[in-house]
Every structure is written in C-alpha cells, then in structure tokens.
C-alpha cells in the first residue's frame, strides 16, 4: 500500500501540487440474509483502489483508480492536479488549511472474533432459526434477517509526512417481522430498524444480541399492533427509547453541527444549517441537563464513528457539542476550521472508500447519560407516550422542523406504561424540542447505536455514524402528527 501512495504523492508534487494526500483502501464484505425461510442474499465482495487529493493552483482536485499499476496510479495523480487547476478557474477566496503535525501510526479496531472466520453455513443457520421463530407467530407475513460484516484496511499518506495504517472491523445484525392484515402493514424490528445494531466489533456483537431469544416477542408485537389503538393527536409528554433518540440526535444535532453545511457547501444537496457561526457559545440549544459530545476516540466505545485518525490524518478527538444546554462546538475539517478562525481541526473528515473524497461526517455524536433510572423516568410521567424504534424520519434542509414515526408506542398514565399504540409519531422544532428535555436515564440504560446509512455529498457517500443515548423525556411535544388529515 505504501508504494502505491508514494507513487501518487511523488507525481503530484512533481506536477506542482502544494499539498497532496493519498488513501489506499482494501475492503472486504460479507452480506447474508434470510427471507421467509430461505436465503435472501448470499454475497461477498472486495474492492481495492487509491484516491489522490491535491491542492494545486490554490484549489482542490481529486482522482481515483482501481488499477494499481505505477502508470495508472501516476495518471490518477496527474489527473487530480489537472482537475485542481481547472477548479482554480472559479475561486472567490484563497484555500487555507489549519496546520497539523505529521504522524506515523497504526491502529486496528479491537475485536474478539474476526467475523470472516465464522462459517457462512453457520451464519445461515442462525438467520433461519431467527426466521423460524418469527414466523412461528400467526399473523407474521414477512420475516427478514441479515448479517453484515466488513473489514477495511486503509493506508493514509500525505505530503506533510504522515503515514497512517488503520484496519476497522464492522459487524451488523438484525431482523424484522411484518404483519399485513386488512388495510395495514405493521412492522417490528430488532434490535433496531435500519438492519439492527451496527458497531465496530467482531462476531461477538452477534452473540451478545440474543437474536433468537428476542424473536418471539418482536413477532408478537408486530401482530398485536393491528389490534392496538391509533396514537392520539395532540400534545403529550414523550419518552423516547435509546434507539429512536439516537436517530433524533443524528438528525437534529449531528447534521446541523457539520461546519461544511454551515458554510454552504451542501446548499445544493444535503442542505445547510440553522447553526450559523454567531450561535456558537451563545445559543441555548437544549435544557441544562443535556450534554452532547462528538467523540471518535476508541475510549467512547466501538461506534461506527470510532477511529484513531480521520481521513485527513487528524487524531480522533472528543469535542463538546452541547454543554449544559449551551451550543459549544462544530464538527470540523482542516479547511473549515481555518475558514472560521479555529486553530485546529477536530478530526471529522471521512470518506466512504478509495473512490471518494473525505467530507465532514458525524463521528460518535452522543447524548451523555443523565441520572434517572428508567423506573423513575416512567414513574414520574403522568400523561405521556413512550415511542420505540424508528419507522420514518424527515427534517427540513436547515434542520429545524422534524417529524419522526416509530414502530410502536405505549400510553403512560400516572407513572405506568398502559395500552399499546400503533402508528406513533411526533414532530417539532429542533431547539424547542431539546429545550423541553427534563429527564435522561443513567449509564445503565445507555447504548451506543450504529446508523449505517447516513447519506451526504455528491457523488453521494454512505457513512456509518455512532450515537450513544439513554431513554429521555421531553415535555409537551406534538404527537400523532403524521396522520393529521
């Protein structure tokens, strides 16, 4: 890998690049799924290539190739320089990067069991056991389950002298049961929607999820939803389970703090942000019990946003995003940090693969635990609704107005979960919602969820992000909003 990178960097410098970095990426994936008693997909794939990013003529250029001959790699570097010089034709301001120290390092995400050492036959057997348990419940019309493993080895090298090797193992597992009856399709997923739980771990994640043991409950809930009452429309206190709260954090905190969006570079596609620079250290984003961090360090946990160095060679860091309710930090890159006068990037640049440039992406954007037990949180709620597991999600392009639907809800009356509710949904305005938070469960209930499907950029890139959360309560939230007529 080092040789490929050296070919690219040398060529770029010869052609006049004032900065260049190269990432050589070698990825391998396995995806096995089941559907109604049969194998759905059974596939393995590998991909390897190099991406070369340069600054020449004061502007950016990038080119990639999967042909790893010296000629092809040097051509990619030459193309990147030529593209940068074309970019220079339309520039309004000088491109600047905050400094970063060169580093030589190697890091592998810790795992107990390499998922690629498990047998495909055993993977299929597990999925079909789950499938059988789901379909044992009368009324389940579609059962789907999947396992997903990835290993990504990457070498990053740059003209400031950094050489960083990282290997990240990723495991994902989960399933869903659909029940069609009358004029309605109901669904329950385990342990989360979006394919389940996803972490930077080995096969031990699959073993810990107790997939088979939870299947009967999940299937029974999918069927029972048909007999449940519709979620009422009105204003109620709302308790979100940790997985739904993870997505709420993703959409209404994680995206608006991306500094590239704030500065307008996603204006045509992913949108901008209401968090303009004047709001830093002045906006009361949330109530005083809310503390949110962006933490890519392995110490935060095995999230999909965990690494040792980002794809600009900046070390993983923890940044306070919301401290006691106050908005205190963005996700930044070397370029955007310079644009707003900050001294250093906080290491948030990541690329989907060898053929994509790094963009500012969420790392692990997590709500820190509070001090309540779950019993205390529910027990102190007089008239509320508990909502669990995301079903639909939408937020405007500056991240103010959101609406979420969940798979299942329960009414809370006088401190007790009572009847099941179907089609639960809620909506609001980001800052009003977070300022209504008055209770967060403690670390015993905190889970670091993986969101595997975050889309951003053009060409679009899909990235995994991490979100730690414990169940939390929000006062006087609009519920039942998705079914307003």
């Amino acid at each position: 890998m080092r040789t490929f990178a050296d070919w690219a960097l040398n060529r770029a410098q010869i052609l006049g690049a004032t900065y260049a970095d190269a990432r050589v990426v070698d990825s391998r994936e396995r995806y096995i799924s089941s559907k109604n008693g049969k194998v759905g997909q059974a596939s393995v794939s590998d991909t390897m290539g190099i991406g070369v990013r340069v600054i020449a003529g004061g502007a950016w250029g990038f080119a990639s190739t999967d042909t790893l001959t010296r000629q092809a790699v040097e051509q990619a570097a030459s193309r990147a320089v030529a593209i940068a010089r074309a970019s220079a034709l339309v520039q309004e301001r000088e491109l600047a990067l905050v400094p970063e120290e060169p580093v030589e390092a190697e890091w592998t995400s810790p795992i107990r069991t390499d998922p690629f050492t498990t047998r495909v036959e055993d993977n299929i057997t597990l999925l079909l056991r789950v499938d059988a348990e789901l379909r044992r419940v009368k009324g389940v019309t579609l059962a789907e389950a999947a396992l997903h493993f990835r290993r990504q080895e990457q070498l990053f090298a740059s003209t400031i002298g950094s050489v960083i090797r990282q290997t990240r193992y990723y495991t994902g597992a989960g399933y869903s049961a659909l029940a069609f009856s009358g004029n309605e399709i109901q669904k329950r997923s385990y342990p989360n929607s979006f394919g389940g739980q996803h972490q930077l771990r080995g096969y031990e994640l699959v073993e810990e999820l107790r997939l088979v043991e939870n299947a009967p409950r999940v299937a029974e809930e999918a069927v029972a939803l048909h007999g449940a009452e519709q979620c009422p429309e009105g204003v109620r206190d709302l308790i979100l389970d940790s997985s739904q709260l993870g997505l709420q954090i993703h959409e209404s905190i994680g995206h608006p703090i991306e500094l590239d969006r704030v500065l307008g570079t996603e204006a045509n596609f992913a949108g901008m942000s209401f968090l303009t620079p004047d709001k830093l250290n002045s906006l009361k984003y949330a109530s005083e019990i809310v503390n949110v961090v962006a933490d890519a360090r392995p110490a935060h946990g095995p999230g999909l946003g965990t690494f040792a160095f980002d794809d600009e060679g900046v070390p993983a860091q923890r940044t306070d995003i919301i401290r006691n309710g106050l908005f205190t930090g963005y996700l930044t890159s070397r370029e955007t940090a310079a644009a707003v006068g900050q001294a250093r990037s906080n290491g948030s640049m990541r690329a989907e693969g060898w053929n994509r440039i790094p963009l500012i992406r969420m790392t692990n954007v997590s709500l820190l635990p509070g001090d309540r037990t779950l019993e205390q949180l529910v027990g102190s709620t007089e008239d509320g609704i508990w909502m669990e597991t995301n079903r639909s999600w939408s937020i405007d392009d500056k991240r103010y107005n959101f609406q979420f639907g969940c798979e299942i809800g329960w009414e809370i009356k006088n401190g007790r979960k009572t009847r099941m509710l179907k089609n639960p949904s809620y909506g609001g305005i980001t800052t009003e919602f977070w300022n209504s938070c008055d209770g967060i469960c403690n670390a015993d209930h905190w889970v670091l969820w993986g969101t595997p499907n975050c889309g951003k950029g053009q060409p679009q890139q899909t990235m995994g992000t991490g979100h730690g959360a414990a169940p939390a309560r929000f006062r006087r939230v609009k519920v039942g909003v998705a079914y307003q007529t």
């Binding site: 559907k35 109604n36 194998v39 759905g40 059974a42 393995v44 590998d46 390897m48 502007a59 950016w60 250029g61 990038f62 080119a63 990639s64 190739t65 999967d66 042909t67 193309r79 990147a80 940068a84 074309a86 970019s87 034709l89 339309v90 520039q91 309004e92 301001r93 495909v120 036959e121 299929i124 019309t141 659909l178 069609f180 004029n183 399709i185 307008g264 570079t265 996603e266 204006a267 045509n268 596609f269 949108g271 209401f274 053929n355 440039i357 639909s392 999600w393 939408s394 937020i395 405007d396 392009d397 500056k398 909506g427 053009q458 060409p459 909003v481 998705a482 079914y483 307003q484 007529t485």
Partner: protein, 449 residues
C-alpha cells in the same frame, strides 16, 4: 493524459472465458460493469470539490445443485478471478438447495438502445469549470451566490452466462444542478441527459435565480390543504416511492400497497403509467439483472392498476410472464420498474398558475419518507422555491411547509397535467413525467425559513 477506455464486448468475452476456466459450477454468470465519472461541485461562487473516478467490477454468480451465491471484485488478474469464483462457490456450497431456483436464461435478442454520446464522455474539467463560471457570473450580477454540480461520465455493463447469454450496454450521463441563494431565499433547477449538449446551463441558472428573487422575504402561511402545482421534480420525488411496489414479489410478500388492489381504479382517470426503457427520453440498459430484455409494461391505465413487473423467478412463483425487470440474483426484492413514463397533458406550469385562484407552487421537495406503507402516506418538506399563487399569479415566496400526503389520494385529485418531460430530483431515479396541478394537498406544519 491517457483517457479511460470502457471494457469492450470482446474483452468481456475474454474475461468470461477466464472465469469459466476457474469454475466447476453447474452454471456460472458474470456481471461486468465499469466506467469513469467526473463531478465538479461548487458553492459560495467557488469550485470547492472536483473529483474523477474510474473503476470496474467483476461479479460472479455460481450455481451448484440449486444453491447460488454472488462474489464481486474489482481486480481482473488471474489470481483475483480465481479467488472471486472460489468465493462464490464457497458461499453457494454452504447453503441448502433452493428447489425454486431456475436455470440461467440462454441467449436473448432485442434491439439495443443508443445512449452513448462522445461529447459527454469527453467533457473535460475545464469545460465543466466554464459551465460553472457561467452560473457564478449570473449569480454575481444578481447579488446571489451559486451552489451546485456539473457531472459527466461514461459506463458499461455486460452480463454473460454459461448458458450462452451475452448482453452489453454502454451509455453516457451528464447532469447539472444549481441552487441560487439570496439573503433569505433560494431557487433551484436541475437537468440531466445522456447527451451533455442537451443541458442548457444558462437557462437553468436564470430559472433558479428568478425563483430565488421571487421568494425573497418569504411570508408564513397557515399549513392546511391547498391546491398545489408540483413541478416535475417534485412529482418525481413523490411518486418514486410507489414503484418498488409495482413488483410481483412485493405483492407476494404482502409488502406492497397494491396487495389486494390489482385491477382496481386506484387513481384518477387522467393517470396512465408505463415502464418503457425504449422511450426516447429514458436512460439505462434495456436488460435486467439476469440479462433478460425489458418489456414495455403498461402499469396503470386511466387510473386502473393493470400490471406489475416480474423477474423470471417471481413469474414462475406467481404463474405470470417475466417482463425483464429483475435485480441481479440472489436478492430479496425480486424486481421493480425503473424506466417510468407517466403520460402528460398539454397544460404548461404557467397555464396551471394562470387558472389558480389560490394555491401553492412547489419547485422541489426534500427528505421524503414513507409514513404509512399501505396508504402510501409520505412526509417531507418543500424547498428552494415555494410560492403563494393568488388570482392566477405566483405572488411571493412562503416559509417552507411539511406535508403528510397519501399518494393514492394525490393521484386521484390531479386536475391538470403538463407535457411529459425527463425529470430529475434528488430522492428518486429519473423518470419521464409531467408537472401536476393537484387539489387538497395536505400541508401539516411550517418551518422557520
């Protein structure tokens, strides 16, 4: 600089000969795809990203006694080809036989479609930069800033199998999208085509700029049901959520909103929809993931759901005729129509506005998600050019709305249709469809900009 060359039909055959040397499977299939793609991205009147990629993949499916699996690599040396064949074989052999698995199809015949334009394939970074500069100059003259993309590329795909099937397609793609930003408003326009010469950069810039100017100082309206005029991009991003349900397997799985509704009058009589890859404004390959040629399928006729599409496997399961819309095997989804053509009318958007006493003009929608899978209720936001229409004129911009709207209801309340055109949005694949004037569109919330 040596330019990237697409893998030729002859080279595909040579690669497949090498695949077969390493395969002892009962049946073997190769899917070969590759291309080069470039994208220039701008914002704040500056090119801030400018990328080029090239690459190819070889995806192998083997079958051993009713057991099948896929393995994919982007390396074409003998060792890599041997490994990818062995990977596919290993995963296939560890399964139980599927008695419903069909033998691979033999040779197919159909007229190819011509969608390769050298002018697109050869577009240079400098040419894209000049296009962007044109946008930026228009923005500057009008006190706005421009953001967007200009992309181009060429790609090929081929499918070969041990039963003698060989299909090959190559095409080019280009796209221009621009958002013009004012102080408190924005306007958007986008176009794409296999032939870059069909993209009028100046017209797109002027359209987006005019929308940004007209929507300055937006006012807040009460969210409620309004007559809306949906420009083609807005229609596209909404109806895109319907078509994965026009699948035989989706109905068999009871995950389609058409379950129990085939043959019903579900939409208004002015709605007719077909899947037609051969339409002159369509794009893409004329064959599916198994190499079966796509048939033109009338899906909805005068509001009645007449047909869905079927892969070979689903057709056998449901005793229907395959239509050539299957995804590469093995998969859970079966098939979907991907070349949608919705019949248009003769009303321009200007005509629709002129005939509207009070309503909303929608340029573009954003973050659309499905709320209810059987009633096809979708939620999402308006974006980048939402206007109040009064007395036959688009008067001014308004704060953006959230909607919660059933697609079944919407397509039953279409009052006017524009001419069908090639539309491009952000949340659905490209289609050929018209602008629509719809009554009682359900806006439920309003945001702050």
């Amino acid at each position: 600089m040596k330019e990237f060359v697409l893998i030729s039909p002859e080279r595909c055959k040579g690669i497949f000969d090498r695949v077969l040397k390493f395969s002892d499977a009962d049946e073997t299939e190769a899917l070969i795809a590759g291309g080069a793609h470039q994208l220039t991205r701008f914002a704040n009147n500056t090119i801030h990203q400018n990328v080029a990629e090239e690459g190819c993949v070889l995806s192998i499916r083997t079958v051993y006694g009713g057991r099948t699996a896929r393995a994919t690599t982007n390396k074409f040396d003998d060792a890599s080809i041997r490994r990818v064949v062995e990977d596919s074989a290993s995963v296939a052999r560890q399964q139980q036989p599927n008695p419903d698995l069909l033998p691979m199809p033999g040779p197919q015949e159909c007229a190819p479609v011509e969608r390769f334009y050298p002018a697109t394939a050869e577009l240079t970074p400098e040419a894209r930069a000049h296009g962007v500069r044109e946008e930026v100059e228009i923005a500057r003259r009008r006190g706005q800033t421009a953001a967007g993309i200009f992309s181009s590329g060429a790609a090929m795909q081929a499918i070969l199998n041990s039963a003698g099937l060989f299909v090959y397609h190559q095409d080019t793609r280009s796209e221009f999208s621009v958002t013009m930003l004012g102080g408190n408003s924005s306007g958007w326009a986008k176009a794409n085509s296999p032939d870059v010469r069909n993209i009028n950069v100046e017209e797109l810039a002027l359209r987006a700029s005019a929308k940004a100017a007209l929507s300055a100082e937006p006012v807040e309206l009460k969210p409620e049901r309004y007559t809306v005029i949906l420009e083609p991009a807005a229609v596209l991003d909404l109806v895109g959520f319907l078509f994965y349900d026009f699948s035989g397997l989706a109905i068999h799985d009871q995950r389609s909103f058409l379950t129990g509704r085939l043959g019903m009058q579900l939409f208004g009589e002015n709605i007719s929809i077909a899947d037609d890859v051969y339409h002159p404004l369509q794009s893409g390959a004329p064959f599916d993931g198994e190499g079966m040629y796509r048939k033109t399928v009338p899906l909805v006729e005068r509001g009645v759901v007449r047909n869905v599409v079927y892969s070979r496997q689903t057709a056998k399961l449901m005793q229907a005729e395959p239509t050539g819309h299957g995804f590469p095997l093995p998969n859970e989804f079966g098939e979907a129509p991907m070349n949608i053509v919705i019949a248009g009318g003769d009303a321009s958007v200007d005509n629709m506005i002129a005939g509207t006493e009070r309503g909303i003009l929608v340029t573009r929608l954003w973050y659309i998600r499905e709320v209810d899978p059987y009633e096809k209720v979708l939620t999402g936001m308006t974006r980048d050019g939402t206007f109040l229409i009064e007395d036959g004129q688009a008067r001014r911009g308004i704060l953006n709305f959230r909607f919660n709207q059933s697609m079944i209801e919407m397509l039953s309340k279409v009052e006017m249709l524009g001419p069908a055109e090639r539309a491009a949005g952000e949340e659905a694949f490209e289609m050929v469809l018209p602008a629509m004037k719809v009554r009682d569109f359900n806006f439920t919330e309003v945001t702050k900009f």
